[in-house]
Amino acid sequence: MNCQQAGLLIDSYADGELDAAGILELEKHLRECPACAHALQNLKGLKKAVTQDPLFFAAPAELRLKLKAGLHSQIASNPMQSLWNWNWLTAAASAVAVVCFALWLAAVLTRSSAQQQLTREIVSSHVRSLMANHELDVASSDQHTVKPWFDGKLDFSPPVTDLAKQEFPLIGGRLDYLGNRPVAALVFHRNKHVINLFIWPATQSDQKPVTSGSIQGYNLVHWSETGMTFWAVSDVNETELMEFSRDFVSATAKAPAGR
């Protein structure tokens, strides 16, 4: 090995990157060549010189603070992070929505089941009145007979009107019991069919006649007016029952319910 070749290996040697064979050859040359040995000493001195402490720059505290702020703001502005937040917000909102929906559904179901129970009671009452031959407590087509009959028997005064002109003649009335309270029942006929009209004070605002479907072949229509709730039930078809309901509404509107 000559000095030129040694010069090419000396840095790797000083850096500990020379392979074993290279080390053997170079060390042999270094023992024989004072100039190259001297160069190695210089190199070692230089390596030591550039690694002395004063040459290292430590990150200023100011930079660390800035970086910390920068990293946190990057988290805040990161779209994934917003998505993450958004997801959490959505989840929370969904949970609230689910609870609200459940409460609403429970309320609706409770109400509808209450209404279902009421319609069943109405139909049962209607059927009972037909079966037990207990259609009437007061048999009269005269509204001025029927209406006073309820006085003293109920805590309210139901509107009574004869609809003979509309081919729904008033047959009479009776007391009945629905939804844990006494109610007025007016009986009308349509041909051979019986229409029971149940009346009691309303707990809700006025409502136009609406059909409540049919139970066991009986149709139901109900409405609210002038502080009363009306339920009409009959085996007449839905159209005729609606017709009856509207006739009753317009007749009582013309002839106010008051005495």
Binding site: D15, A49, V50, T51, L55, F57, A59, L67, G70, M80
Partner: protein, 178 residues
């Protein structure tokens, strides 16, 4: 779902311990504190963005590679003349390494003289010196980090050292420096 805060904590634990090394490299490359802080800040934020790609081999080398890339991007934008031409590795012919030991040993102890000598090296030499001597990276690690062949790392390092020795010996006749 990625927990960003966990990611930041992990980043702070694995990468931020090397902030001194990052700043040191940036400081040697940029030449002043203000620019070095800008480069380090930008590089660290970039590192955090790319942290998901880091596979946990050598976080210091990984961070310093980003610092280096950030610096060159910054350099092209802010100081175009400094990298106007590609460094010609053959332009700096290094001769005899046997400079007078007596002169050198006194200079070696002079931190300011050594600092000045390093500062006046071409930037491509400077970074190799910092990475090899101050950070202790192997030739292979430097080659990966700086994306150059190992041979280039070796030749630049050797030439950087000869230049430093010459500068410290007060010999500025050759070496391509003004």
């Amino acid at each position: 779902m990625v927990d960003e805060r966990k990611r930041l904590k992990s980043f702070e634990q694995t990468v931020l311990p090397h902030l001194d090394a990052a700043y040191n490299l940036a400081r040697w490359l940029a030449g002043n504190d203000h620019d070095a802080q800008d480069v380090t800040q930008e590089a660290s934020l970039r590192a955090f963005r790319f942290f998901g790609n880091f596979r946990g081999e050598n976080s210091r080398a990984w961070l310093l590679a980003i610092v280096r890339n950030t610096f060159y991007t910054w350099l092209r934008k802010n100081r175009p003349p400094e990298i106007a031409g590609e460094l010609d590795d053959e332009a700096l012919v290094v001769e005899d390494a046997s400079v007078g030991a007596e002169i050198l040993s006194s200079k070696f102890a002079d931190a300011d003289a050594v600092r000045h000598a390093i500062e006046t090296l071409p930037v491509e030499f400077r970074e190799i010196v910092v990475l090899r001597e101050m950070e202790g990276f192997s030739y292979k690690e430097i080659a990966d980090l700086a994306d150059v062949p190992i041979g280039t790392v070796m030749s630049r390092l050797a030439r950087a050292r000869r230049l430093l020795q010459k500068k410290l010996a007060g010999e500025f006749k050759r070496g391509g420096q003004p």
